[in-house]
Assembly symmetry: D2
Homo-oligomer: 93 residues x 4
């Protein structure tokens, strides 16, 4: 069971829509769409991916990390560090 | 003719690979992959999209904007502002 | 008592160094430094600020959020949501 | 003469305000301000720095890069690449 288990279908729908948006980007390149219009669309896809990340992170903190803290012991601290490392990768990407 | 015309095939290959990576993300969710591993992969896809943006922007500055400046007139200034707005959207996304 | 209490002096030192870096940026503008060199230095300051954010967030998760979860009750969930909102602001800025 | 020469005073004012905002962050830490409130303010400072970057970049494209393109020769291409590298650093920071 993962933190996102209850929202699994919603995540799958969002990822399929993002997949379609990336396919749309390829179509824009094929159709010689104006560069700036492609860039605008790439920014939209990036934001959609970030929204998925932030959702996954909230689910992760609210389930996996919460359970580790409730269980106590050294694993809780490790989970917090692991989540922080993932946040750092998101902030820097 | 667009700024990216000469690199069109390379962009199409990169976008198809990114499309495959997004499909891979959906598969990870379906397979109940650990949240943090999905997040790491989302960061990788985001970086791949940003690299496409930066390539498109370089092609755009080196062709469309350069041609507008060489042609002179008020369009040059407008192209610089339009490119700056696209950069601002990339930086903030 | 805040999550960052034990690292307070280290944060103050880092923020004073960032303050000095921003003062350095103003000096670069005053001295007519080449634009690209100023931009490189702005990126360095931005990364230093992000590192402070990520540190504060780790301290926050490891103390404030952890304590709320250990205490149980509805506040735990609220703290997770509040932290996620802060992460979303960081990712988008 | 730099691309930002005509806006020099405005940049200096903006940078002094950002310097004051960073000093305000240190004060927040000294006063044991709640972590999330400090994080919100760090995001605001990061956005203010990014706005300075984008302004400098627009001035750079509209002056230094434009002049190199108008002058023609190999330096124009080099300036476009240099600007793109600076944009890439901004996007990734």
């Amino acid at each position: 069971m993962r933190g996102y288990a209850q929202d699994k279908d919603a995540y799958l729908r969002r990822l399929r829509r993002i997949e379609g948006q990336v396919r749309g980007l390829a179509r824009m390149v094929e159709d010689d769409t104006y560069c700036i219009d492609i860039l605008t669309q790439v920014s939209a896809v990036t934001r959609a991916l970030q929204a998925v990340s932030i959702g996954l992170l909230e689910d992760h903190l609210g389930h996996c990390v919460t359970q580790a803290i409730e269980a106590g012991g050294p694993e809780a601290e490790e989970k917090v560090r692991e989540a922080t490392d993932a946040i750092a990768r998101l902030v820097r990407s």
